[in-house]
């Protein structure tokens, strides 16, 4: 029969062992994550697919998390609730839908008078959205993923004042595909869903509204 001192010693040793196990486990997971690719969304085209977790999920026939942009209300929780820092949710640009506008609601703060690249005019809190002049009055917008925190502010601006070509998507080269996604648990519009790993994106298209579908087809191709 162990006395109280022996019992407490055993308890302490057990606790230290468990803590060591947790720390080493998290270190291993973190080192695996560092090896993951930092390329684009479509892993097959990013050139770093060997280190990406998506092909493994694909081979195993797994489901992965994705965000349905048609349900997304840009509440900002993708930026604050993901276990990854910065979030695995990023702004993605559907170029086929973009109007290449000079006065871009996703790039410029509302009410900005001079339509330029000055930092104080930019809507994005991390300046992750870049603007490049194409020809008068068209500009191309690209997302610098390393800076994007997935807050959705540009997505809201683009949806309200433009064609909605900026959309939030889970990037599977960053997502840890948790069983219980921390963002999904907190998403007020139930926009997070499981999708097959072989069809991992849920980008909005022109197909939702028949009138706009035809129009945008023409606008895009003209």
């Amino acid at each position: 029969m162990p006395n109280r001192r022996e019992f407490l010693n055993t308890l302490m040793r057990g606790g230290i062992l468990a803590a060591l196990g947790l720390i080493s486990g998290s270190v291993i997971l973190r080192s695996r994550d560092k090896n993951a690719c930092s390329g684009g969304f479509a892993c097959s085209s990013c050139g770093k697919s060997q280190s990406c977790s998506l092909p493994a999920a694909l081979a195993a026939g797994q489901m992965v998390w994705q965000l349905d942009p048609s349900k997304c209300i840009q509440c900002g929780r993708c930026a604050t609730n993901c276990v990854m820092t910065p979030s695995a949710v990023k702004c993605t640009h559907a170029y086929a839908m973009c109007g290449y506008c000079d006065l871009c609601g996703g790039y410029l703060k509302p009410g900005t008078k001079t339509l330029d690249t000055a930092a104080e005019h930019q809507l994005c809190p991390t300046n992750a959205l870049k603007r490049k002049f194409i020809e008068d009055p068209f500009f191309e917008y690209t997302v610098e993923e390393e800076l994007c925190i997935g807050c959705g502010k540009c997505v809201k601006g683009c949806s309200a004042f433009g064609n909605g070509s900026l959309q939030l998507q889970v990037r599977h080269d960053r997502c840890k595909n948790c069983n219980e996604c921390s963002i999904a648990r907190n998403c007020p519009s139930q926009a997070f869903t499981r999708v097959p790993a072989n069809k991992p994106s849920l980008l909005k298209s022109f197909g939702k509204e028949p009138l706009e579908e035809a129009g945008r087809k023409g606008v895009r191709n003209a």
Partner: protein, 320 residues
């Protein structure tokens, strides 16, 4: 004794840590957590109520599945077209006829004989008031998306958002010329149409006006395609046109004033014939947020008819 105190202190600390962790875990589930990255659309939708010059007099609820185009005819009868059909109402809102056709009407106009010209995606179809087909014009291009028609005594002007151009037809559907076509040789920039909203109208003196939405301006053209005049500026405030591309629609009052509607910040406003902002007809609060495609018409008494596709209503506004 000393050891006992340490154990108790340790247990209290452990309980405290667990309590903090639990509080943090459950507090993150609160649904009303403020968004630190909020766009604050509500601020942009606020307007000065003293600037409202109109009140809503009448609401008509068409039975069509979708509504996209409105026009006024003789006797101030109201015509509304949409998915697979058209409905006619008397000026007091009583139903006065309807007919069916195949396709999604995106725009509509009437000539003095009462013939109804309907833009259906890439072509125009003409009907009499009983729905008897009077003609079907050839499609200009499969990429065409007709968004507006206006008819004078001699011509029909058709706006094509797909090709970003205006066509001038005779009333039998023969294409006469193109207006606003991009021509780098002549330094003509062409219309900027980032989204499929591209309206045109005939002014008080029979002149053609086109909404160059990407430039946030209304532009007047001669029949040869020459630019005569333009006005308009981009602004979130009431005196300008908001967003990437507005006004999405416009109409004329009897004195030549412009009635405009916008998307993004949904609002209907009146401008003088010179383009000076006069008053608000319907503020953003009158519409469901995100409403697009507020087509407009005005009758002989200058009542403004707003087609609200989200609420599926024709909303008639009169001056206060």
């Amino acid at each position: 004794m000393k050891q006992k105190i340490f154990i108790i202190a340790g247990l209290v600390m452990l309980a405290g840590v667990i309590a903090i962790m639990l509080a943090d875990f459950f507090s993150s589930r609160k649904a009303d957590k403020a968004n630190p990255y909020d766009y604050k659309m509500g601020e942009l939708r606020k307007t000065d109520s003293t600037c409202n010059g109109y009140i809503e007099q009448l609401t008509i609820r068409p039975a069509l599945e979708e509504i996209h185009a409105v026009a006024c005819g003789a006797g101030d009868r109201i015509f509304v077209a949409g998915k697979n059909g058209l409905e006619i109402y008397q000026k007091d809102g009583k139903p006065d006829g309807n007919f069916r056709f195949e396709g999604l009407a995106s725009c509509m106009a009437l000539d003095k004989k009462g013939r109804i010209f309907i833009g259906i995606q890439d072509h125009v179809e003409v009907f009499d008031q009983l729905g008897k087909p009077c003609g079907k014009w050839n499609s200009v291009s499969p990429e065409s998306m007709l968004t507006s028609i206006a008819v004078t005594d001699s011509y029909a002007y058709v706006a094509d958002a797909g090709k970003k151009i205006v066509y001038r037809y005779d009333l039998n559907g023969r294409l006469i010329n193109r207006i606003g076509e991009k021509d780098p040789q002549k330094n003509v920039p062409g219309f900027i149409v980032p989204s499929p909203y591209f309206d045109l109208g005939i002014g008080k003196k029979g002149e053609l006006w086109v909404a160059n939405t990407g430039r946030h301006s209304l532009e007047q053209f001669g029949d040869d395609g020459s630019l005569q005049s333009a006005w308009g500026e981009a602004s979130m405030s009431s005196d300008g046109f908001c967003g990437c591309c507005n006004p999405s629609h416009f109409a004329f009052l009897s004195d030549g004033s412009f009635v405009t509607s916008e998307k993004g910040i949904e609002r209907v406003k009146v401008y003088s014939p010179q383009g000076k902002y006069l008053c608000m007809v319907a503020p953003p609060s009158a519409f469901i947020e995100g409403t697009k495609g507020l087509d407009l018409a005005a009758d002989s008494k200058d009542r403004i008819i707003v087609l609200d596709p989200e609420k599926k209503q024709l909303r008639i506004f009169v001056k206060k």
